[in-house]
Symmetry: none
Subunit: 150 residues, 2 copies
DNA sequence: TTCATTTTGGTCAGAAAAAGTCAAATTTTA
DNA sequence: TAAAATTTGACTTTTTCTGACCAAAATGAA
């Protein structure tokens, strides 16, 4: 059995027991599974992404941690659907369409709509080179949407 | 739990109870939390700055003190102040600090706070090269804040 | 008053304690 | 065998903690 799978299984189990919220210390966990610390990052970034329904938060320095939060999917199915529909790239026009649609269905308040539109607007993202702007926009959009669910 | 967080929590609690004005003795407080005195300075300068909405006054010599005062401001003024304070670059930690402060003052709803935090988190922006990430973050933050005012 | 002593708080740099990044090397899978 | 997934470790960044030394205010003696 691969280490990554073992670690992922452990984290899934912990999430189950802890009702969707688990906090870990990278070095400690790495030691428990006898792998280098950066492998914890690999496991998380390959299996606990927003697309998989998880939000990651972390802190460095003394007393640092990595926190994994599972977002509920049974409710907010529509929003999850949008998250998946966004995919890897998202242009400004489609972003607007998605947002307006959610506003129309009252999945978003008008204020939330304005803020999210501002965040993914071409104005806000103008410093990003065109070739990766839509990728970044997709990421921001997905993270914002998941935070609404969480 | 980190000492710094414990001390900050204690100070926030004191501020709450004392209606926004608290006065302390550096050495005494350091002793209570079993840290060196300069750590009190660290906690204050990392968490109770003007940007966070606090004013610090102090006096040396016999009967010396450190006074922390929370200042209340008009909502839009405060938000504009944050917009200005953001400047051209903004790292993830300061972003969090600004947002949390606005949340504390009820300038943002908890949901708005979560969404905005998600939008400027390092996770959402990980596709952007490090050397321009903080610039983009600053832009996104400012656009979102302005959309709240508008 | 003047000035030495004591009592505070202030600064800063370095150590320590985490987590993050990236790309090369290896292993697995199709 | 070629592509994808995994493993590893060297290097970076962020945050916290500590201590040595500095500066200012109060106090008391000469």
């Amino acid at each position: 059995m691969k280490s990554s799978d073992l670690i992922a299984a452990f984290l899934l189990d912990s999430l189950e027991k802890a009702d969707g919220l688990v906090e870990l210390q990278r070095n400690e966990l790495a030691q428990q599974f006898n792998v280098v610390p950066s492998q914890i990052n690999y496991v998380i970034s390959s299996r606990f992404t927003p697309e998989h329904g998880y939000i990651i938060e972390s802190r460095r320095g003394g007393g640092g941690y990595i926190r994994i939060r599972r977002v509920k999917q049974d409710k907010n199915v529509h929003i999850m659907h949008v998250v998946n529909a966004v995919g890897n790239r998202l242009n400004a026009m489609n972003a607007e369409v998605f947002l307006r649609n959610m506003l129309d269905y009252s999945y978003l308040t008008p204020q939330l709509f304005r803020v999210m539109r501002a965040a993914v607007s071409d104005n806000a993202l103008s410093a990003i080179p065109l070739d990766c702007r839509d990728t970044v926009r997709a990421e921001i959009m997905k993270h914002m949407l998941l935070s609404v669910i969480a």
